[in-house]
C-alpha cells in the first residue's frame, strides 16, 4: 500500500471512502485520494478504472453514494458544480468550452468581465487582467488577449482553458488527458505552465495514459484499477514497469470462445501507410479467418488507420491492397467489395436512432431485397429475422425503434447490419464500448463465428482483456507508429502496455 490520505490543514483536497454505483455496476469502491498544495498528483488507470467518475465527483457533476470530500479542512458529503467552482476547483477536459469567434480575454471573462464607467465592459482592464494571468503561467508571449480563439492552436486554446480556471481563482486544477490533444512540441509549453502553477502553490490532478509524462512532471501518482485505489506513491519511489504491473494484471475470464482454425490467404496488405499527419509508416497483413488486434492508448492512431481502410481520411502515402487490388476509396464501394468498418461511436455514425431495427439492419443492403425496382417485404423480413437471431438481439421485434435498445443490443444491430452484406473483412473499432458483459460475450461469439467462415477481422480496442482473449496477433500503436507486433504465444498485458506507453522502444525496422 502507499501513503495514507491525510486530512491535515495542509491538504487541499481529501477524498475518503468514496463509492459510486451506476445501476448495479460499481464504478468506484472505497476510493481514497488526496491532494497537497504545490503538488502535481497524477492519476492513472486503464479505461473503465474509474478516473472519470472520480473527477466528476470532485467537480460536483456526480454525487458519491458514500464517502466524504474534505476541502481545506471543511468536510462535505456532496458538491454541486457551482459549489465546487466557488471552492476553487477548476477542470480542463479534452472537449474545450470555448467560443471560437470571441477573443481570448472575452472567453476567459465571459460571465463577469470588469465593468468600467457607464456600466460598459472595460476591455482594457480585461486585457490587462488576462495578461497578468498569462504572465503567471509564462504564456504571455504567444497569446494575445484580443485574438479570436479560433486562430489559436490547440495547445494555446488549452492554455486559455487553464487561464479560465485561474480567473475563477481555482487553486485545484484538474487536467483530463491534456496531452491527448497536443502535438508533442506543445507539450513543453504545457509543462511549463503546470510547473508555474505548482510553484504558486496550486494542486494539480493530472490524468494521463502516458507514463513518461508522469515521471517528468508529477510528484505523486495514484493507480486506480476496477474502481479501487491500488496505491498512492511518490513518483520518485516507483518506475514505469511497476506502474504498468499495478495497472493491469488481472486474470482473464472465460468470456472468449476458444479458437483453433488456421488462417488462410492474405486479404489485406498495408505498407508504409501515413495518414493525416497522425499516423506514420504503418505496415501489416490480415489473413482469412484471422483476428488481428490493434492495441494502444487514446490518440495513438488506431481509429485513424481503421477509417483509412474504408477510404475515410486523407492518405498521404503508402499502399493498401485489398484482395489483390488497391483499396476502395469510399465507404460505399468498400462495402460493396466486402470491406466493412464498424465505427467507434454507434449513435453518431452507426444508427438511425429514430428508426426501427429492421430499417437499420437493411439500410446498406437494400439491393439484396430489390426486385424490378421495388423492395420486397418478404425477402427483407427473412433477412431481418435471421440477423436478429444470429446476433441474439433482444428484444426481437424488428419494428422496435433502435433508440429504445440497450447499448449492447444497439451495437449488435450495427454489427448485424454490416454482417448482412456478407463481408470478407470486418474492422471493429471499439466493438464493446459501453456494453454489458452478456452482450459482450454474444459479440465475441459472433466474431468467432465469422473467423470460422474465413472472414478476416481487425479489432481495435482499448480493453486489453478482450484483445488478449480474441486475437491471433496484436499490433501495438504508440503516438501514431507501430511499436510492436506480438504473436499469440507472446501475449501479456504487461508486454502490450509497455509497447503502448513507449516504455520499450520501437524495434528497429
Amino acid at each position: 500500500m502507499g501513503t495514507e490520505p491525510s486530512s491535515s490543514p495542509q491538504t487541499l483536497l481529501s477524498l475518503k471512502h468514496i463509492s459510486k454505483t451506476f445501476g448495479g455496476i460499481h464504478a468506484l469502491a472505497d476510493v481514497s485520494f488526496d491532494l497537497r498544495p504545490s503538488e502535481v498528483h497524477a492519476l492513472v488507470g486503464e479505461n473503465g478504472a474509474g478516473k472519470s467518475t472520480l473527477i466528476k465527483i470532485i467537480t460536483g457533476a456526480y454525487t458519491a453514494d458514500r464517502g466524504t470530500i474534505t476541502l481545506s479542512g471543511v468536510e462535505y458529503d456532496r458538491l454541486s458544480p457551482e459549489l465546487a467552482r466557488r471552492l476553487g476547483i477548476g477542470a480542463v477536459y479534452q472537449e474545450f468550452n470555448l467560443l471560437p469567434e470571441l477573443s481570448v480575454a472575452e472567453n476567459i471573462y465571459l460571465k463577469s468581465p470588469p465593468i468600467g464607467r457607464l456600466g460598459l465592459i472595460d476591455a482594457r482592464a480585461r486585457a490587462q487582467n488576462v495578461l497578468r494571468l498569462l504572465e503567471r503561467l509564462g504564456a504571455q508571449t504567444h497569446i494575445a488577449p484580443d485574438q479570436p480563439v479560433k486562430y489559436l492552436t490547440v495547445g494555446e486554446q488549452q492554455i486559455v482553458e487553464i487561464t479560465k480556471a485561474l480567473a475563477t481563482n481555482a487553486h485545484i486544477l484538474i487536467l483530463d488527458e491534456p496531452s491527448a490533444v497536443l502535438p508533442s512540441r506543445d507539450l513543453d509549453r504545457l509543462f511549463n505552465v503546470i510547473r508555474a502553477l505548482r510553484a504558486e502553490g496550486h494542486g494539480i490532478i493530472y490524468i494521463s495514459h502516458r507514463l513518461n509524462e508522469i515521471f517528468e512532471l508529477a510528484d505523486r501518482v495514484t493507480v486506480l484499477k476496477d474502481g479501487q485505489t491500488i496505491t498512492t506513491k511518490a513518483v520518485a519511489e516507483t518506475n514505469n514497469a511497476e506502474l504498468v504491473r499495478l495497472m493491469v494484471g488481472r486474470s482473464l475470464t472465460d468470456l472468449y470462445p476458444p479458437k483453433d482454425n488456421q488462417p488462410g490467404q492474405v486479404l489485406l496488405d498495408v505498407s508504409g501507410l501515413c495518414v493525416e499527419g497522425n499516423v506514420f509508416d504503418i505496415g501489416f497483413q490480415v489473413r482469412e479467418g484471422e483476428v488481428v488486434g490493434m492495441a494502444g492508448l487514446g490518440g495513438s492512431g488506431r481509429t485513424t488507420v481503421c477509417r483509412s481502410l474504408v477510404g475515410l481520411g486523407k492518405i498521404q502515402s503508402g499502399q493498401i491492397t485489398y484482395r489483390g487490388r488497391p483499396a476502395p476509396g469510399n465507404p460505399a464501394s468498400a462495402a460493396r467489395a466486402g470491406l466493412v468498418l464498424i465505427p467507434e461511436d454507434r449513435k453518431a455514425f452507426g444508427l438511425i436512432l429514430n428508426q426501427s431495427m429492421r430499417f437499420n439492419l437493411t439500410l446498406p443492403n437494400l439491393l439484396q431485397f430489390q426486385q424490378t425496382g421495388w423492395l420486397r417485404p418478404g425477402l427483407e423480413q427473412q433477412a431481418v429475422d435471421r440477423a436478429i437471431a444470429d446476433n441474439q438481439i433482444r428484444p426481437s421485434d424488428p419494428e422496435l425503434g433502435t433508440e429504445n435498445l440497450s447499448g449492447g443490443n444497439q451495437q449488435k444491430v450495427v454489427v448485424g447490419k454490416w454482417l448482412l452484406s456478407g463481408p470478407k473483412l470486418v474492422v471493429f473499432d471499439e466493438p464493446t464500448r459501453g456494453i454489458d458483459v452478456g452482450a459482450k460475450a454474444e459479440i465475441y461469439a459472433r466474431i468467432r463465428d465469422l473467423t470460422l467462415r474465413g472472414v478476416g477481422v481487425i479489432m481495435a480496442s482499448s480493453e486489453l482483456p478482450e484483445l488478449l482473449g480474441m486475437c491471433d496477433r496484436m499490433l501495438v500503436f504508440h503516438e501514431g507508429r507501430l511499436t510492436g507486433e506480438l504473436a499469440r504465444p507472446d501475449f501479456s498485458e504487461e508486454a502490450i502496455m509497455r509497447l503502448a506507453t513507449g516504455t520499450e522502444p520501437a524495434p528497429a525496422p
Partner: protein, 332 residues
C-alpha cells in the same frame, strides 16, 4: 507596467489595433463597403442627380426605417435565429396608432402617449415571440413566420384601406431639419452608435454572441440563455414598432401595406453585412453596410428607371449569389 505586449504592439495602438482586427475578422464588411463605394462613385459619375446633397439626404432618410428593423433583426440573428414578424409588427403599430388618432380627431396631445403605446405594443409582441421560442424550443424562423401571418390577419381586421387622420405635428417628425441635415438622420446615427456599443461593450449584448456561438457553452458559463433570447426578440419587435411609427410619420396615413417585404430585406441586410445566419459572429457595422447597400441600390435603380419587378428579381439574385458564395464554416 512591466507587462509585455508584444502581439498588441504589432497592431499599433489599442484602438487602431481593434479596428484592424475587426476588419480582418470580417472580410465581408470590407467587401460590402467596397461595393458601396464603387457603386456610389460610378453612379455619381454617370448621373448628376445622384450627386446632389438632397439625394444624399434622401438616401440617408430612406435608410432609417429599414435600418431600425435591421438593427433589431441583427440581435435575433446573432443568437442563431430570425424574426420574420418584423414587417407585420411595424405595420400593426402604424395602423393602431393611426386608428386612435382618427378616433380622437387628430389631437396633438396624443402624440407622445401614442408613441409610447406603439413602443409598448412592440415590447409585448416581442415578449410573445420570445416566450414562444424559449418555452417551446420551436424553430424561430417558422414560428415568427406564423406569428407574422396572424398579425397579417389582425392588420386586415383593423383596416384594408389607408387610415387618414394623423395630425400634422406628427408628420413634422419626419421632415424635421437643422439647416440641410434632417434631424432624424442624426438621431438614427446615434441609435446605430448605441446599438453598436450594446453589442460590443455591454454584457447583455455580448451574451447574444455567446448564445449564438454555442448554447452549450453559454449554459455552462451560467449565462442566462433564456433571458438573452427573450431580450433579442423584444429588441427586434420594439425596433420594428419604432420603424412603424416613423413610417407613419413619413406617409401620414395608416398604411395596410406598410413595410411590405421588409422582413426579407432586413435578413438580406444582416446577412450581406456579415452576420452569420447560424449566429455567434458579425458586427452591426456590417449590417449598416447592408442597409446602405440596399437603399443605394434601390435609389440607383429608381434613377435608372428600372422596373420594380426587375428590382425584386435582382434582389433575389443578389441574395442567392451572396449566400452561395459565402460558405458557412460549420459542416453538416
Amino acid at each position: 507596467m512591466g507587462i509585455t505586449l508584444q502581439k498588441s504592439e504589432r497592431w499599433g495602438s489599442a484602438r487602431l489595433g481593434q479596428a484592424v482586427a475587426l476588419l480582418r475578422n470580417n472580410p465581408s464588411i470590407v467587401l460590402i463597403y467596397g461595393i458601396i463605394i464603387v457603386i456610389c462613385v460610378v453612379a455619381a459619375i454617370f448621373n448628376e442627380d445622384f450627386r446632389t446633397a438632397s439625394n444624399v439626404a434622401n438616401i440617408l432618410r430612406q435608410s432609417i426605417v429599414i435600418g431600425l428593423i435591421a438593427i433589431g433583426q441583427s440581435m435575433v440573428v446573432l443568437t442563431g435565429g430570425a424574426d420574420m414578424s418584423v414587417a407585420m409588427v411595424a405595420r400593426t403599430v402604424g395602423l393602431v396608432v393611426a386608428t386612435i388618432f382618427l378616433a380622437a380627431n387628430s389631437s396633438n396631445g396624443l402624440i407622445v402617449p401614442l408613441v409610447i403605446l406603439g413602443a409598448g405594443i412592440g415590447i409585448v409582441l416581442g415578449c410573445f415571440n420570445g416566450l414562444l421560442v424559449t418555452q417551446t424550443h420551436a424553430n424561430p424562423f417558422i414560428i415568427t413566420f406564423g406569428v407574422a401571418n396572424i398579425l397579417r390577419g389582425v392588420n386586415l381586421a383593423i383596416s384594408s384601406t389607408p387610415i387618414r387622420g394623423v395630425p400634422d405635428a406628427y408628420l413634422s417628425i419626419y421632415d424635421a431639419k437643422i439647416g440641410l441635415v434632417p434631424v432624424n438622420v442624426i438621431v438614427m446615427a446615434l441609435v446605430w452608435l448605441g446599438a453598436w456599443i450594446f453589442t460590443t461593450r455591454v454584457l447583455a449584448g455580448r451574451a447574444l454572441f455567446a448564445v449564438g456561438g454555442s448554447e452549450r457553452v453559454a449554459r455552462l458559463t451560467a449565462l442566462r440563455v433564456n433571458w438573452t433570447l427573450l431580450s433579442a426578440f423584444v429588441i427586434s419587435a420594439t425596433f420594428a414598432a419604432l420603424a412603424g411609427l416613423f413610417l407613419l410619420s413619413r406617409t401620414g396615413v395608416g398604411d395596410p401595406n406598410a413595410a411590405d417585404g421588409m422582413d426579407f430585406q432586413s435578413i438580406v441586410a444582416v446577412a450581406l453585412g456579415g452576420i452569420s445566419l447560424y449566429g455567434g459572429k458579425g458586427s452591426l457595422l456590417g449590417t449598416l453596410g447592408g442597409v446602405l447597400l440596399l437603399v443605394i441600390l434601390s435609389n440607383v435603380f429608381n434613377a435608372l428607371q428600372v422596373d420594380i419587378y426587375y428590382q425584386q428579381l435582382l434582389l433575389g439574385l443578389v441574395v442567392l449569389i451572396a449566400v452561395a458564395a459565402y460558405k458557412s464554416p460549420r459542416t453538416a
